[in-house]
């Protein structure tokens, strides 16, 4: 429930309001901040806080709460991926009055809007009074739902905040989230009418429930399924040669995968923030078509030809390609890919790792070719949608440059292009620069192999009506806009 605690912060989205928000097109819109001004040098951001917002305990929401929330969210002990950007890039944050907050940056950085949109506003006075333990037991926000009860590993209960300050109000008096790990049990609960919404279902079950008359509802943007060659592309071994990486891409029959493994629910895609269905496409809709057509192509003959040109496998030492994956659907998919690769003559050893070990390797920052990460390729499952173009700017660093969390690159040109896109104060120019980086990443580096876009669907029971509010990340963001069914 604390925004700084990884995925637990999803609950906070139902109870707390962000500083600014996204609309369905990925544009930034006012929320707790009614408006914001950016100085001509793009270094000073002034937020005007909405007057009259009250927390659930009756305390007024002021700039002191916003300042506290930014610092809390930016705390180094946070495991939320957005936290590092909130404080690290600022020189000073001040509150000249109760409803104004001034944020100063070290360098122009348009993308900083995304961390602002991820910053949920907490009541400073209450948090300081009850401390972290007290907050976990009874969090307080200003959002559409109030905290009622949390039974760890069992359920979370919210009650509607009937005094919600926005013109739209929650329509369900109570929302109870229950943790039901088994898919069959969740389906049984839906069919019996015990629950109204279930998620995390396989393609087979989604289609089966749809066939029984249930409604599929997409939450957020599609998940991106792809493979990234972390660390390996720059070093020795077969995947250090771009032709081998290209051959691995041409070997995959994405149409077949979409129709069979994903039962027609997915479609070829899965570009690292560069797909038609993510907000990134508004950069230049035509520009990604060319690499997309090439990167999604299935061409066994070309794959074999590339391998021959690369001298695969004899030329390489070591000759093995090892792919690491967590257990579950991702491992199933990797075994199918293994078959495709084998067909063109590439033997890939797929190793299924315990989730903790997998994540440990995924987040280990490789500094030099001999670091532990070298020699691995990783699958990126549909881990959730990506909220905005500016989110994608930050995350591009992870895939293509030497400064990201999952550092893969040692390409000075990619680093330079990323820095240029990150710090360009003009939005149009910034998008162009980012687009150039994407082209460089896909055309010249080829370290990310897209596979499919997979919608993140939940299934609705008959009591649930429409989803009228956009949820870009988690279902909890949609709660306030869910209507009753007929």
């Amino acid at each position: 429930m604390d925004p700084i605690v990884g995925n637990a912060s999803a609950w906070a989205l139902a109870m707390l309001d962000p500083l600014i928000n996204h609309d369905a097109d990925g544009k930034y819109i006012p929320m707790v901040a009614d408006s914001w001004d950016v100085s001509p040098d793009s270094l000073t951001w002034t937020f005007h806080i909405h007057k009259g917002i009250k927390f659930h305990n009756g305390d007024p929401l002021t700039s002191a709460d916003v300042l506290f929330s930014l610092k809390h969210f930016g705390d180094k002990k946070s495991t939320n991926p957005w936290s590092p950007y909130v404080i690290a890039d600022s020189t000073e944050i001040t509150t000249p009055d109760d409803y104004t907050l001034v944020y100063k940056l070290k360098a122009p950085e348009l993308s900083i809007r995304e961390p602002f949109a991820q910053t949920l506003i907490m009541p400073k006075k209450y948090f300081e009074k009850v401390g972290e333990d007290g907050w976990q037991k009874a969090p307080v926000g200003s959002g559409p739902y109030k905290f009622v009860e949390h039974v760890p590993k069992t359920r979370m209960t919210f009650a509607a905040n009937t005094d919600y300050w926005q013109p739209y109000k929650p329509q369900w008096q109570q929302v109870i989230e229950t943790l039901v790990p088994d898919e069959s049990t969740r389906i049984a609960q839906l069919e019996r009418g015990d629950v109204d919404i279930i998620g995390a279902l396989s393609a087979d079950n989604l289609l089966a429930l749809k066939g029984k008359g249930y409604t599929l509802q997409q939450v957020g943007l599609p998940g991106l399924e792809n493979i990234s060659f972390q660390g390996t592309w720059m070093t020795k071994g077969p995947t250090s040669d771009i032709r081998v990486r290209q051959a691995m891409s041409y070997a995959i029959n994405r149409d077949e995968l979409s129709k069979t493994f994903y039962r027609g629910l997915a479609k070829p895609g899965g570009f690292w923030f560069w797909s038609q269905d993510t907000w990134a496409h508004d950069v230049d809709p035509s520009s990604w078509q060319l690499p997309a057509a090439e990167q999604l192509k299935y061409d066994v003959a070309k794959a074999k030809q590339l391998l021959q040109q690369a001298g695969f496998p004899g030329k390489f030492t070591p000759q093995d390609i090892t792919l690491y994956t967590p257990a579950g659907p991702s491992a199933d998919l990797m075994q199918i890919l293994q078959g495709y690769w084998q067909k063109v003559g590439i033997k890939v050893n797929v190793q299924v790792l315990d989730t903790a070990v997998y994540l440990g390797r995924l987040f280990a920052r490789a500094k030099k070719p001999t670091d532990v990460q070298v020699g691995q390729i990783f699958p990126w499952g549909p881990g959730g949608p990506f909220p905005s173009f500016f989110n994608n700017v930050y995350h591009s660093a992870n895939m293509f440059t030497s400064v990201g969390v999952h550092t893969t690159g040692n390409d000075p040109q990619a680093d330079k292009m990323y820095q240029a896109a990150l710090h360009e104060p003009d939005e149009t120019k910034a998008k162009k620069l980012w687009n150039d980086l994407m082209h460089y990443g896909y055309d010249k580096m080829w370290i990310n192999v897209p596979i499919v876009d997979m919608p993140s669907d939940v299934v609705l029971g008959p009591h649930v009506g429409q989803f009228t509010r956009f949820a870009n990340t988690f279902l909890q963001q949609a709660y306030v806009g869910i209507t009753h069914g007929k």
Partner: protein, 304 residues
């Protein structure tokens, strides 16, 4: 008997120390928990600070002494992932598991004893064959499948029971029945074979020749002597049930220890893993102690 109990208690204490050392070492060998707490803004110094704040930079013997000292003061530490005290997590999970395991165990043992005796006393009859068939079924069918079938039949097809989750008595029926079916075969077979051995012994034959009523022969003379082996097995089974119900906890969304433990393992949340494993170890050791003491009560020949 007093000397026997004292020696067994001392042995249990030594085992506990050994167990705590083993758990402490193995958990630390599984990897660095700070790996999952890092973000891109952290410098190596920040990561070092986290390690220091968690006491991970101290020598292992010192870490162990601090850990044991905290345990003796009732401080189980904090979850690295959930940022709440482990005791608060266990206070919810442990009663749920004990309730499920306890009822499953009671139902299974009661049925095993009764059916085992019935089968043994009606050897090769349709009753005996029926009980053996039940035992084979229980052994052959995986618990998660039985649980899902129960849910489909009794919560969806004929909705007479709730689908999942802890709650009133009705919530216990399906998970307890599934668990009982899992425990039943092993103990039942032991009771049956033990009873057959005892019923074939000289003193039972003598009792029958003397004209002791069959009911008394079976339940007073034979049954008590046939209990030793099943009792040992039952003790061990209950110990493993404390986390062994994890599959059922997943199917029936039952928030018990096994479920918490699996989640903690996946997140390398080692204070939680450490405490749950130690707790299970303590329960198993205490149960073994009680079983051993009950041996001495049942069979007066067992002494040091």
């Amino acid at each position: 008997m007093g000397r026997y109990i004292i020696i067994r208690v001392f042995q249990t204490f030594v085992s506990l120390i050994g167990l705590s050392l083993l758990i402490f070492t193995l958990v630390r060998m599984s990897g660095d928990p700070t790996t999952l707490m890092q973000n891109s803004a952290m410098t190596p110094q920040d990561i070092q600070n986290i390690r220091e704040s968690l006491g991970l930079t101290k020598p292992y013997p010192v870490q162990y002494l601090i850990y044991m000292g905290d345990l003796l003061h009732g401080d189980l530490g904090r979850s690295l992932v959930q940022r709440r005290t482990v005791s608060s997590m266990l206070s919810v999970a442990l009663p749920n598991t004990l309730a499920l395991a306890g009822w499953g165990f009671i139902v299974a043992i009661t049925l095993s004893l009764f059916l085992g005796v019935v089968a043994a006393t009606h050897r090769d009859s349709w009753l005996d064959n029926g009980v053996k068939f039940l035992a084979i079924l229980g052994q052959a069918l995986p618990s998660f499948w039985v649980g899902i079938v129960f849910i489909f039949l009794f919560a969806v097809k004929w909705p007479v029971l709730p689908v999942s989750g802890p709650g009133g008595p009705a919530h216990f029926v399906m998970p307890v029945a599934t668990l009982a079916l899992f425990i039943l075969p092993g103990v039942l077979r032991l009771v049956r074979s033990s009873m057959l051995d005892v019923l074939d012994s000289e003193y039972v034959k003598l009792a029958r020749i003397k004209g002791v009523p069959e009911r008394v022969v079976i339940w007073k003379h034979a049954f008590r002597n046939a209990l030793i082996t099943p009792l040992t097995a039952a003790g061990a089974i209950f110990g493993t049930l404390i986390v062994g119900t994890v599959v059922l906890e997943v199917v029936f969304a039952w928030p018990g220890l096994g479920f918490v433990d699996i989640t903690a393992l996946q997140g390398r949340d080692f204070p939680v893993v450490q405490d749950i494993t130690l707790l299970v170890g303590v329960v198993v050791l205490l149960i073994n102690l009680m079983v051993d003491i009950s041996y001495a009560y049942i069979d007066p020949r067992i002494r040091y």
